[in-house]
């Protein structure tokens, strides 16, 4: 009992320099975690809380080697961020084998708490199941019933494409094709042409970050949107909208796990965060990073130990009720079920970061797969 090694170590393993380093991971995520630790008082059960971070370069092997050493040598108690599903899947498995809790935020694949779920793996913030529920539904209902996907060619992209396809088909739409694009491509033109000639009404972007931004830009460059096809970004952050410009992104619908302009509590948190991050507004992933850090520390406090089993159990006992999630709960399969928001790009707001307005709140139980449908074997008994 008590705190192992007299210190609680939180490891932020993220993409510190690559395509996901803005918006999802990087300094912004580290700032959120550190801010939470500070707000918590820097200590838990009288022991120091330490935050360390490392760059996984979007490489699962780099990530798992780092995680392995963190666990074996540095006795890290919890690993978070794990932006990039391939990374998260690898590290979650490894950490669980070694009895260490992971709390993935940036990573999206619903498999993390689905068929790849583990005893100590938690997925916090959003997933590929939750994203299309809002966005794809809205698009299909507006008449966009045939889709062509441009998909990031790894765990995340494929999961997102699958989950979106399921939504589209359920609503009677069809999927006419897809192109797999390597992560961090800069030229989407040939895929876009392929999509264009498929005749689909909607080009679904099953990618994220810089990839999404580039794809949308080039679609405009080649006159694809003018040609009558609609783009649907399945994972868009406000930072992406900002770099696209609201004129280019105009009309875009997308789904987020939180938006800073939801209520006063959120607005206040955003102001505070911006001081930590050199003036960049938080994305919903950063908010999740903060929220989960507090949740984890509270669980240690409540359990009176940093023992993984005790903390994991405690995490599922609490309700997550803060600026980020209202009445959210961490399920047996490790998924944080909470409300999601469909937002739409808006132009000309006063605050340069006010790039979207919320058009619909998607209740947690609608957004996420049920425990039963999620496919986590461990959670079925």
């Amino acid at each position: 009992d008590g705190i192992s090694d007299d210190v609680v170590k939180i490891g932020v393993l993220g993409d510190m320099s690559g395509v996901y380093s803005t918006g999802f991971s990087g300094d912004g995520a580290v700032a959120a975690v550190k801010m939470a630790v500070e707000d918590f008082g820097g200590e838990v059960l009288g022991k120091k809380i330490e935050v360390i971070s490392a760059d996984h370069q979007n490489k699962a092997d780099v990530a798992s080697a780092t995680a392995r050493q963190w666990i074996d040598e540095d006795h890290v108690d919890m690993i978070t961020d794990l932006t990039n599903s391939a990374v998260a899947l690898a590290v979650q498995q490894l950490a669980s084998d070694k009895g260490v809790i992971t709390m993935s935020t940036g990573a999206a694949s619903a498999d993390l708490t689905g068929k790849a779920c583990t005893k100590y793996g938690i997925h916090y913030g959003y997933d590929t199941h939750a994203l299309p529920v809002g966005t794809a539904t809205a698009v299909v209902k507006n008449g966009g019933d045939s889709w062509y996907f441009i998909t990031a060619d790894y765990a995340f992209g494929h999961a997102l494409q699958d989950n979106t396809s399921a939504v589209v088909k359920e609503l009677g739409g069809s999927v006419v094709g897809s192109s797999d694009v390597p992560l961090a491509s800069t030229d989407f033109s040939s895929y876009l042409l392929q999509a264009q000639s498929s005749g689909a009404k909607v080009i679904g972007l099953a990618n994220a970050g810089q990839d999404t931004v580039n794809a949308i830009k080039q679609a405009h460059e080649f006159g694809i949107v003018e040609g009558g096809q609609q783009l649907a970004g399945m994972l868009v952050l406000i930072s992406d909208v900002k770099s696209l410009g609201t004129d280019v992104a105009k009309g875009l619908n997308f789904t987020v796990g939180w938006y800073w302009d939801l209520d006063d509590e959120s607005r206040a948190w955003k102001e505070k965060y911006m001081k930590y991050s050199n003036g960049a507004a938080p994305t919903f992933v950063h908010a999740a990073d903060y929220s989960l850090t507090l949740a984890y520390l509270n669980a240690i406090k409540a359990a009176g130990t940093d023992d993984s089993d005790a903390v994991r159990a405690e995490l599922s006992k609490q309700k997550i009720d803060d600026f980020f999630a209202k009445g959210g709960m961490i399920r047996k399969d490790g998924l944080l079920e909470h409300d999601m928001y469909l937002v739409q790009v808006q132009e000309g707001a006063e605050d340069p970061w006010n790039v979207a307005k919320v058009v619909r709140t998607i209740p947690g139980n609608e957004a996420y797969a049920s425990l039963k449908d999620g496919g986590c074997a461990m959670a079925q008994e």
């Binding site: 760059d55 699962a60 092997d61 780099v62 780092t66 392995r68 050493q69 391939a86 690898a90 790894y154």
Partner: protein, 333 residues
């Protein structure tokens, strides 16, 4: 545009290569190095993170295998990552999907690398010098794309969660110390194979080919076949290293097959000393340790590694062991 550049690191450049290998001074230095090697392998896990030492051993074996080609045959392969990384996938698949025990999985990996080595080698030895280097580089890139696109490799995700399993159905390799000595044994076997190859009748012919290919041909040696065998041997041993690494990290990834890894193994060998026995080990240990220690400075590691590359090429073409041998006036180390 002459293609007849003699192999790298040989002939004209280094005129003075000390006395015969069996001179008494050499014997002593050789003995000391062997002793140091064995001793440090035995005691390292007591002082260092075993997984890290295992990584060192894997890369050291990789570099030694590579050196067999560049240092003792005069062929610069710029695509050795294909064998290292390829074998990792073969081994991973054999263990994870076919359920082979780890040892047989690793052997499967090495055999797979041998087949790849045969295919790449047979094509590449049609050209010489810089062309050979570029062709191996490009062929390795094909292997890389296969690793990216074939269904069994897991694409960008890599092949994850390869079980370490048990050795001969007896001891679990999940115990880090057992795993360590298992890896150490593989390293020693690989290293001894290389050592013996260099000092075999076959090695003698390789050296002759490196020094004067046309003459070797006129003496009736089938030069291409010798080169190909050397290539396949080197590829298999690189594969042995890669497969072992896959079991250590329970992971086969694209990084291992990427050209940058091919570049790194060249650097390790160059830095330690091409054509020396122990040099590649020193080079691998230096580079891997650097990467490890400097991981916190992020991409500056690349700058440092690049800088070392430049300095070694400009000033230490003999490498650490090569320079040492020159100063001590010994050979065969």
């Amino acid at each position: 545009m002459s293609e007849q550049t003699a192999g790298i690191g040989n002939a004209s450049e280094f005129e003075d290569s000390g006395p015969a290998e069996s001179a008494p001074g050499n014997r002593i230095v050789q003995g000391v190095l062997w002793g140091l090697l064995i001793l440090s392998i035995l005691v390292a896990p007591a002082f260092l993170y075993p997984v890290f030492v295992m990584q060192l051993l894997c890369f050291a074996l990789f570099a030694c295998a590579f050196n067999l080609l560049i240092g003792f045959t005069g062929l610069l392969s710029f695509g050795h990552a294909a064998f290292f990384g390829g074998a990792a996938y073969f081994a991973g698949h054999a263990i994870k999907v076919w359920g082979l025990p780890p040892l047989f999985g690793i052997i499967t990996g090495a055999l797979g690398a041998a087949v790849l080595g045969y295919l790449v080698g047979a094509l590449a030895i049609r050209r010489q010098g810089i062309y050979f280097a570029m062709i191996t580089l490009a062929l390795a890139q094909i292997v890389y794309f296969f690793a990216l696109q074939l269904p069994f490799t897991g694409g960008e995700n890599g092949l994850q969660g390869i079980p370490r399993g048990t050795l001969f159905g007896l001891v679990s390799l999940n115990d880090p110390i057992v795993m360590y000595y298992f890896v150490a044994a593989i390293f020693m076997i690989g290293f001894l194979i290389i050592y013996r190859t260099i000092h075999s009748p076959f090695g003698q012919v390789l050296q002759a080919i490196r020094e004067n290919e046309a003459r070797a041909l006129s003496l009736g040696y089938n030069v291409d076949r010798f080169k190909l065998i050397a290539f396949v041997l080197s590829a298999s041993l690189a594969g042995l290293a890669g497969a072992t690494k896959a079991v250590v990290f329970q992971f086969a990834s694209l990084t291992d097959a990427h050209w940058q890894t091919s570049g790194e193994v060249i650097l390790m060998t160059l830095l330690g000393g091409m054509g020396t026995i122990f040099g590649p080990i020193i080079g691998a240990v230096t580079i891997v340790t650097l990467q490890h220690e400097l991981a916190s400075i992020g991409s500056w590691v690349q700058v440092v590694i690049g800088g070392i590359f430049i300095v070694s090429v400009l000033l230490f073409r003999r490498g650490i062991i090569g320079e040492l041998a020159r100063v001590l006036k010994v050979s065969g180390v």
